[in-house]
Symmetry: C2
């Protein structure tokens, strides 16, 4: 019964883009038929098209490029020549970790990959959905270990694409928000390697939804700011004058390690110590935990809760809305990872102990 | 062949959450069997569970609530009583418009809806994916027409949920970033109506990916700010001191109507008139157009290009990266909507005319 219900759901979920692909194939049929006599050759040819970058170009709305590539593939095939491999890189945002929050486009690109480069913030559940045969390479960044590998990741992307591979560069969240995705594809652009970018649900947005804390709100925040709390050698030198303005929400990525300095700096630069602040730990995952306090208390609370991250710190009046808007109550028993918070009270269910 | 390729892709795309649902059903089987003798009654019962809020609770990692609800449903069924309808609201971010950028979770909730409330920013392609039988209600906000309907939307959500309906509140982008989603669910919380929130790809993130303009970049922007350019009666009173800071990217939602005032105000408050600025019109859609200039030129360029929106305006040094990182070249002929830009030069393909 579950299988039947699932099947009905899947059948309704065919991405609309495939209609375009079918139309493209229909339009190109005469051309292919005219150049390739043999039915088997035609079938092989279409199989390659469907699995390769030409289909991808159509799905990405780039039909002129697809037509040009198809024409040149036909000529190569008709001439009996070898098909030169056409490597490509997909820079894909994997979202906050729950595979349910992947986009269809992300999954489609993941299913085409010959090789996957992923880092620490990509969850095992998401990684499992990459093409089964794809080689997986961990290029994972730990904190304080950013600088060196970045260059090597660029090298690796270039080399793999030059070998004709479809390379999936999978990043937690969105690749253009503190993902350094821009730097990686700059390198590809320099080397004239084709690439595509697929956005993902960035951590601040995911944490906002799953913690019941709207990032903007007519009465409380007309703007939101995303910053990173982590620099090369300690907390980054943030633009405090900007961050302490009223009427906005600040979401801090990678700030847990410097939560003391961050909270103190807010207050030192003029923010109200009573300004609400929350830390969302493992946001949008089954082991999500949320600690709510104020600038004055949040660092101590984070320590008491022994949070491990990844986290998003949210500072602003909107945090107070969580009291009303919290809807997500994951079951610790179902958590994919062990959460060691023995004895710590958790804000979600006052008076209850979790993870025990 | 396309169908076969599609099927293989779909089969690999079953959201991981369904494993949890199967486990939950297995665990509850004995309980149901003990209370419901009749095989037909059991089957009917499970069908309702799979289609209703209990399955949804499991998929949302809220197993304690699911267990409690299941137990009370079993008792009702065993007692021969009527099943009281349990209404619920799903506040779902529909992303930028391309159905390919929906998340699996969004689609799943869309497939459960009895009724859909949507507004102007939800594309027809996305709306088509809501459950076929669902009633569709347009509650669309036009510019300058925000205030009154908002209250009525809240009323409607409450009334429909009270009738026992599964109500989908579908919003373009993400519901918590300038979507006023927070206000709508506050109302639901007041009325004790259950709700869930599903994040979406917000417009600034989508436009960033599809325009090749990273919102953050180690060399150019350590922060990004999202603001709205549209207030009740003209441009909102933005916090200019915050926005003109160097080292950050500003993404302005709903700013096209006030682009003159906005660009002038940036400069009047001290920003460099030569600071790069871009307008992404219909971002991440087949009719995407991008106009790139500076604070000094962008308003005039927007006029010349006769942009109609929806748009995201991006201001900051990262805009210059588009020269290198632009990868998305949609085909105007495939655009779902007519773009009336007769005679206008477009930055993507210099010297070419589009939409003619």
């Amino acid at each position: 019964m579950l299988a039947r219900s699932l099947k009905a759901r899947l059948e309704s979920s065919i991405p609309a883009a495939y209609g375009r692909l079918a139309a493209f194939m229909g339009k190109s049929r005469a051309l292919v038929g005219a150049r390739l006599d043999d039915a088997r050759a035609r079938r092989r040819f279409w199989e390659r098209v469907l699995e390769g970058p030409i289909a991808e170009m159509v799905l990405a709305h780039n039909e002129p490029a697809a037509e040009a590539a198809l024409a040149s593939e036909i000529e190569r095939e008709a001439g009996g020549g070898q098909i030169a491999p056409l490597g490509e890189v997909y820079l894909v945002g994997a979202g906050p970790g729950d595979p349910d929050l992947l986009t269809f486009r992300a999954l489609r690109l993941m299913q085409k990959a010959d090789v996957v480069l992923y880092d620490r913030l990509v969850s095992p559940g998401v990684l499992d959905l990459a093409r089964r045969e794809a080689e997986r390479i961990y290029v994972g960044k730990r904190r304080n270990d950013h600088t060196l590998p970045q260059e090597e990741i660029g090298e690796l992307l270039v080399r793999l694409a030059r070998e004709g591979k479809r390379v999936l560069r999978l990043k937690g969240g969105d690749p253009f928000i503190f993902g350094r995705g821009g730097e990686e594809i700059e390198r590809l652009a320099d080397e004239k390697i084709p690439f595509q970018v697929c956005p993902g649900i960035t951590a601040a947005v995911a944490c906002s939804a799953y913690a019941g804390i709207p990032l903007t709100h007519r009465d409380h925040a007309q703007a939101c700011v995303f910053v990173t709390g982590h620099g090369k050698d300690g907390p980054v030198d943030l633009d405090w004058a900007t961050l302490i303005r009223p009427g906005q929400t600040v979401a801090i990525y990678m700030g847990l390690g410097h939560i003391d300095e961050l909270a103190r700096a807010f207050v030192a630069h003029g923010a109200d110590p009573e300004l609400p602040a929350a830390i969302v730990d493992n946001g949008a995952r089954a082991n999500q935990r949320v600690v709510v306090g104020t600038l004055a208390t949040i660092a101590e609370q984070a320590r008491a809760a022994a949070l491990r991250g990844p986290t998003i710190i949210i500072v602003g009046a909107v945090v107070a809305l969580r009291d009303k808007l919290n809807w997500y109550a994951p079951t610790p028993a179902l958590a994919e990872e062990d959460v060691s918070d023995a004895g710590v009270r958790e804000e979600t269910q006052p008076g209850e102990r979790r993870g025990e």
